[in-house]
């Protein structure tokens, strides 16, 4: 599933469009432990987190992570937005909390996997 389509399906608002909108998502990492994120995520991952911080965008850039989804309707610092724009990372915000956001993502991806057979 494409990241923009996913944002639409889970009701998240895209704040920074991202350079590569054509990425097919194959993995989601939810959490805030940077070390685990480094090990787990790759260039087809979406990072779902409640940590709206600058270094998160930095990690996304270092690890070629194409998208970040913030939760609970957080309004990120303008610096973070600028960094995401500059690096071409897609940045979206879900109005729901971490648990509910992940639940929706899981439902959408499962439905897609079933449809694909």
């Amino acid at each position: 599933m494409k990241l923009e389509a996913l944002a639409d399906r889970i009701g998240a608002k895209v704040l920074a469009p991202g350079r590569n909108t054509n990425v097919d998502l194959d993995q989601v990492y939810a959490g805030d432990r940077i070390s685990d994120l480094l090990s787990a995520a790759g260039d087809h991952s979406l990072l779902v987190t409640n940590l709206a911080s600058n270094h998160l965008v930095r990690v996304a850039e270092l690890m070629d992570i194409p998208g970040i989804c913030l939760v609970a309707g957080q309004v990120p610092d303008p610096a973070i937005l600028a960094a995401a724009r500059e690096h071409g990372t897609i940045l979206m915000v879900s109005p729901l909390g971490l648990f509910e956001t992940c639940g929706r993502i899981h439902r959408v991806l499962s439905a897609e996997a079933r449809a694909a057979g």
Partner: protein, 542 residues
């Protein structure tokens, strides 16, 4: 890019990661492959953030040379009081602020170690910490097969599946009821032979029988002379061997002592890295090349005893009584000017036993003057095993730590790699228990056999050591695909498959772990539905 330096400011979380980012751009410029860049970024970012979290200031220095990336991150921080604890996953001393930001999971150093090919840490409380790591960039060459001597008798396999779990390099598979070995991973260590209950795994000599070659040198090591029980001394066995008919018999004992002394001297004078690791056991050397390439500089640059003796032959024919596959491989390696013959312990036993029991009360027949250089041993009463043993077990030098048995060898090599064994001078690791006495091809218990070894008074054999002409090189494994892009694609598929497998590493599919099965499936060695737990029907067909 030769060497580049980047400043790191402690406590500056806003800019933390800037050094890693610059490094990434450099790596992309030189066309490093994405999988390597990824590993480099994990290691560099963790190291950089360690400085931000714990120190006032620091520096990341990176250099790219000889196809490898060397990174050094040094700080003027508080230092690490307990490095061993710091290397343990989950251990952290990070501040509350760092933890709020998602750091301090205690995975920093373990993550760096996991993602680099070489890793070292140096720290002193009050002075600071330096982390060094190396990542090899070179596309991995296809490793030439045929450098091992494991022989598989497939029809003997009863599918105990023990070998796949015993192998330290995960080289064994049992697919479709037959054991197989991945040559490029096998280090010739005997672990699978020792654990196989049905004799499906063994090794073969170039000759199946010890037949006389009058002008040849027969080379034997202490363990083959102590596998005849309590009442037969090494000198008795030597006397029998002398009767069989060889020009000369060399016992490796003198060369073993000479090698040990040469290594201690090397360690005290011009060692490249300490502790120095003895290359006496060829399987351990293979293991280091395969699993611990960062320890190659620690290996003393000498040939193993049998390899050194081979250079002494001067064109004469020779029969080496090898005790294990790794000795066989070493003796027959391409460097040999002329290929000697190899016999294994079973052939030697078969030749010696009938002669031991043919005449009086289990003692060998004795005819004065019948053998070369061994006349003096006839008629000597049985030695008191507790006397005259000084030096018989080899290591009397307290600077040498002798470690035997694969499990212990692996943990000590890990400790050296982690910088936790810097108190040692020389380590002499042997893959088998009690050294070569523990080879599963021998008949007696390793401890009994070693206890029974007393150097015969007139055992002959050159006390030779030889420097290694060709340096050891890391064994890079087998490329996933010649095409780098396809290889990366396969890597991603392996990763995805692995995550879909149960992760129990039960081995019922015939592959040692779920991760190795994922690789086997992508490489086409195993069927896509090979997992027995996910596809219970498989159980009856494997």
């Amino acid at each position: 890019m030769n060497a580049t330096r980047y400043e790191i400011v402690g406590g500056d979380y806003e800019r933390g990661g800037a050094a890693s980012r610059s490094l990434k751009e450099q790596l992309k410029k030189v066309g490093a492959d994405p999988a390597v860049v990824r590993r480099a970024m994990i290691a560099a970012y963790e190291a950089e953030m360690n400085v931000v979290i714990h120190a006032q200031r620091g520096e990341l220095r990176a250099s790219l040379d000889n196809g490898q990336l060397d990174v050094e991150v040094a700080d003027e921080g508080p230092g690490i009081a307990d490095i061993e604890a710091a290397l343990r996953p989950g251990f952290s001393t990070a501040s509350a602020k760092a933890r709020e930001l998602g750091f301090g999971a205690g995975m920093g150093l373990p993550n760096i170690k996991k993602n680099s090919d070489r890793f070292a840490i140096d720290s002193a409380v009050g002075r600071g910490t330096t982390v060094r790591f190396t990542i090899v960039l070179r596309p991995q060459a296809l490793y030439g097969a045929g450098r091992n001597s494991l022989h598989i008798v497939a029809e003997q396999c009863r599918q105990s599946f023990r070998c796949i779990h015993a192998c330290p390099t995960q080289a064994m598979r049992v697919f479709r009821g037959k054991p197989q070995v991945l040559d490029y991973l096998c280090v010739d260590c005997t672990a699978c032979i020792a654990t196989c209950p049905s004799g499906a795994l063994t090794t073969r000599g170039t000759r199946d029988e010890l037949t006389p070659i009058p002008d040849a040198v027969l080379v034997v090591s202490p363990p083959v002379l102590t596998q005849f029980g309590a009442s037969i001394r090494p000198a008795d066995v030597l006397a029998v061997l002398a009767e069989i008919g060889f020009g000369e018999i060399w016992v490796t004992w003198a060369a073993e002592e000479a090698l040990r002394n040469a290594i201690v001297q090397y360690a005290e004078t011009d060692a490249a890295a300490r502790p120095v690791i003895s290359p006496a056991c060829p399987a351990v050397v293979n293991l280091i090349e395969t699993k611990f390439p960062s320890l190659i500089p620690h290996v003393a640059p000498f040939l193993s005893v049998m390899e050194a003796l081979r250079t002494e032959l001067d064109g004469r024919r020779a029969v080496f009584a090898a005790t294990c596959p790794s000795q066989r491989t070493a003796v027959l390696s391409d460097d040999a000017p002329s290929k000697p013959e190899v016999v294994l312990p079973a052939a030697l036993r078969a030749a010696v036993r009938p002669r031991l029991h043919s005449e009086d009360a289990g003692l060998p027949p004795r005819r004065a003057g019948s053998g070369p250089a061994l006349q003096g041993s006839a008629g000597v009463p049985p030695a008191d095993p507790n006397r005259d043993r000084e030096g018989a077990e080899g290591v009397t030098d307290e600077r040498v730590l002798r470690a035997t048995g694969l499990r212990h060898v692996m943990s000590i090599l890990n400790a050296i790699e982690d910088g936790l064994a810097n108190d040692l001078t020389v380590v002499e690791p042997w893959a088998c228990d009690e050294g070569c006495f523990g080879s599963p091809l021998l008949a007696d218990d390793p401890f009994l056999a070693r206890r029974r070894w007393t150097p015969p008074p007139d055992a002959a054999g050159p006390a030779v050591t030889r420097r290694r002409a060709r340096p050891l090189t890391p064994r890079p494994g087998l490329r996933l695909d010649d095409d780098m892009t396809k290889a990366i694609g396969k890597l991603a598929r392996i990763d995805k498959l692995r995550r879909a497998l149960p992760g129990c590493d039960c081995g019922w599919c015939g592959s040692p772990t779920c991760a190795t099965l994922a690789e086997d499936i992508v490489r086409g060695r195993a069927a896509a539905d090979a997992c027995v737990r996910q596809n219970p029907a498989q159980e009856t067909t494997t």
